[in-house]
């Protein structure tokens, strides 16, 4: 019960759902590009980009959770990476990962923290 409550508190103090969608998008895209590494190295830069884009998205999703202060940067980067995945990574994981990434990035970008905690019992409304 206490664990659930503290998880909820943790969840609500950061763009949790945005991060989750971005992580899901990154995993989906990554699964579609899992080519054998030697083949990827043969293809060269562009094959590598196919890998790098979902990895950067995964990092963005995780950092939105663990460093929510810089959420604007991470959410915009995640949005750009999701769009770039269309070109680099199997048409954005056959479009599914791209859309998940856009939803996640937009959610995180639109998230705002609540007002800072008010000192207890000194609350006076007015002005």
């Amino acid at each position: 019960m206490r664990a659930r409550r503290s998880f909820r508190r943790w969840r609500r103090s950061r763009p949790f759902w945005g991060g989750l969608f971005i992580v899901a998008a990154a995993v989906e895209i990554f699964l579609t590009v899992k080519a054998p590494l030697p083949v990827v190295l043969h293809v060269g830069m562009q094959g590598l980009a196919g890998f790098l884009v979902p990895i950067i998205m995964l990092l963005c999703g995780l950092l939105l959770w663990f460093s929510p202060v810089s959420r604007t940067f991470y959410s915009v980067l995640a949005l750009l990476m999701a769009l770039a995945s269309w070109v680099t990574s199997n048409l954005g994981g056959f479009l599914i990962g791209l859309l998940l990434g856009l939803i996640g990035g937009s959610l995180a970008f639109a998230w705002q923290p609540g007002p800072p905690p008010k000192p207890k019992r000194v609350v006076t409304e007015g002005g």
């Binding site: 409550r5 909820r8 508190r9 609500r12 103090s13 950061r14 763009p15 759902w17 579609t32 590009v33 899992k34 080519a35 054998p36 083949v39 990827v40 043969h42 293809v43 060269g44 830069m45 562009q46 094959g47 980009a49 196919g50 949005l79 999701a82 769009l83 269309w86 070109v87 680099t88 990574s89 199997n90 048409l91 056959f94 479009l95 791209l98 859309l99 856009l102 939803i103 990035g105 937009s106 959610l107 970008f109 639109a110 998230w111 705002q112 923290p113 609540g114 007002p115 800072p116 905690p117 008010k118 207890k120």
Partner: protein, 207 residues
């Protein structure tokens, strides 16, 4: 607001839905732009697919710089696609430096439904560079120019960067043309893929 004791301790975040809708709208428009530009062949996409067997057909393939050799592929342990193969497959690797395909159709069986991708016609064919395909079946009417058959796979030179294992049978040709191409593929990579007339759909039939 239902739980008075945690809102005092921790700031409660919220989502500004109008901002979400605006961001989502803009990025969806950019995505639509990317899809359209790819469909017109302006943007080239990069592909690498493996693990799922999928079928590729094309009315005609024309390529310059062609190599072919065999590899033994090992599936991930416990893969449901193992069947009675013991997890090992002998696959033919075909590498083409520059390829042009007319009426390309590619389908992946997702169990019950197929993801089907078609692109390219005679006027605006699909073009691909460094196309490397692992397949267990290739059929079609092929003709080659300047073919060397039986060259050691490790010494192939027609596609820079793609060579097979030492001591393995290989062949290479300066140019290749295959009509009524049909391939059962296990992996494909291409560093650039131009897909004019791209259509993606789910359908009950494959290619």
């Amino acid at each position: 607001m239902s739980d008075p004791d945690d809102q005092e301790e921790q700031p409660q975040g919220k989502t500004r839905w109008r901002r979400f809708a605006l961001t989502m709208g803009i990025s969806a428009m950019v995505t639509a732009g990317l899809v359209v530009l790819t469909g017109q062949g302006v943007i080239a996409a990069s592909f690498s697919v493996s693990g799922l067997p999928f079928v590729v057909t094309a009315d005609e393939l024309q390529g310059t710089g062609f190599e072919q050799y065999a590899v033994l592929d090992q599936m991930a342990p416990g893969s449901p696609n193992e069947g009675d193969t013991g997890g090992q497959l002998i696959l033919i690797v075909s590498a083409i430096d520059n390829a042009k395909l007319t009426n390309l159709c590619q389908s992946i069986n997702l169990g019950g439904t197929n993801l089907r991708l078609t692109a390219g016609n005679a006027e605006h064919p699909v073009t691909a560079t460094k196309l490397i395909v692992d397949s267990d079946l290739i059929s079609g009417d092929a003709s080659f120019t300047k073919i060397d058959i039986g060259q050691d796979a490790s010494t192939l030179t027609r596609v820079p960067g793609a060579t097979g294992g030492i001591g393995i049978f290989g062949q290479q040709a300066e140019a290749v043309s295959i009509k009524h191409l049909r391939q059962n593929n296990y992996a494909t990579t291409a560093s650039t893929f131009n897909l004019p007339g791209l259509r993606m759909s789910f359908s009950s039939e494959g290619c």
